[in-house]
């Protein structure tokens, strides 16, 4: 009896299929490797190791690295409110005297630390130096105006605000700072103009209406002041200072019942205990 021929097992893949798959996989791997730098998030590479043996070049590279490291540590310290550490880092950066924009930025950051440490004179000098190095440094100009206003130097605040507005005429921060400096120095015309421009730029800003009302109160135009205060309160109903000011205007107009309501509103909304106590006292006298 003749045995039937043994059944030959067929290979699962033919040789040509295997080759094609290997080629395809290799191509995909190559494409993936080529695309990796494009698709991955890019970070700045490490600073190249110095290739020079020249002493001056090595010193310059070392200084640049120190400036970079101290900036990182100083900004981190300022962000967590550790002003002493920040001052130490930026004092060293200023001493290293890096080129722009690092030089003016270091002075700006050191000024920020100094003013939080109560050294406003040092902060002002640093901000002025930053502006000398970079005359259109708006953040430095803004902080210079703010520090001068806080320490009550109205002449310096006005000078700084004028310079700030000269190169950033559309800045609402510059306009607000100069308006405040002018109002505190009783330059009512400039203050009125600045707060009106501020209202035109941002009509929803209640504080500008309030400050314009204060200008008009000082000018003896109580009706205009009352209208601005009512506008401020329509925009910000819990604006305690505006309620208090409205109460004073209403008392002067002989409207004591309405004034009582305004003082009561102020007493309810005021977070400042002194303002609240004063409002309660005046309410109870109406």
């Amino acid at each position: 009896m003749q045995r039937p021929p043994a059944r030959q097992t067929q290979p699962v893949y033919r040789t040509t299929d295997v080759r094609a798959r290997v080629v395809a996989a290799s191509l995909l791997a190559l494409i993936a490797v080529a695309m990796a730098p494009v698709s991955a998030q890019t970070y700045t590479g490490p600073t190249p190791a110095p290739r020079s043996t020249d002493a001056a070049t090595l010193a310059a590279t070392g200084r640049a690295r120190e400036v970079r490291e101290r900036f990182v540590r100083g900004v981190a310290a300022e962000e967590r409110g550790d002003w002493s550490s920040a001052a130490a880092e930026f004092t060293r950066v200023v001493a290293l005297d890096p080129p722009e924009p690092k030089g003016s930025s270091a002075r700006y950051d050191l000024a920020l630390a100094q003013t939080h440490l109560g050294r406003d004179d040092a902060a002002v000098a640093l901000l002025e130096e930053a502006l000398h190095r970079d005359p259109r440094f708006a953040a430095a100009a803004a902080n210079l105006v703010a520090v001068d206003l806080r320490r009550g130097d109205l002449v310096a605040a006005r000078r700084a605000a004028d310079h700030y507005l000269a190169f950033a005429p559309d800045s609402v921060l510059a306009r607000y700072g100069r308006g405040l400096a002018a109002l505190r120095a009783s330059d009512l015309a400039t203050a009125r103009g600045d707060f009106r421009v501020l209202i035109d730029a941002d009509p929803s800003y209640a504080t500008a209406h309030y400050d314009l009302a204060v200008v008009e109160l000082h000018a003896g135009r109580d009706d205009v002041a009352r209208a601005e205060l009512e506008h401020a309160l329509a925009l910000a109903p819990n604006y305690a200072r505006a309620s208090f000011a409205l109460g004073t205007v209403l008392v002067r107009a002989g409207r004591r019942a309405d004034a009582r309501i305004a003082f009561d509103r102020c007493a309810h909304d005021a977070e400042d205990p002194a303002l609240r106590a004063l409002a309660i006292d005046l309410r109870d006298r109406m």
Partner: protein, 76 residues
């Protein structure tokens, strides 16, 4: 009589104090200086070594902003 005089003196002093306080309040309301101006602007935050023209420098953006919210202006 002595006690009576003491009570009268105390009463006069109390009335005087009340009148003084009331006059003080009226004088305060007549003085426009009693109405304080708004708060000074807050200090802007730190700037990195990239400087004010660096990527997304928040303090410089605030210093040149055209709206109160973007500039972080005070609300009191």
């Amino acid at each position: 009589m002595k006690h009576f005089l003491r009570w009268v003196t105390a009463g006069v002093l109390a009335l005087g104090a009340c009148a003084g306080a009331a006059m003080g309040a009226e004088m305060l309301l007549d003085d426009t200086g009693a109405v304080a101006v708004s708060s000074p602007p807050a200090l802007l935050g730190p700037i990195t070594e990239s400087g004010r023209t660096g990527w997304d420098c928040a303090p410089e953006h605030a210093a040149t902003a055209r709206s109160a919210n973007a500039a972080g202006l005070p609300h009191d």
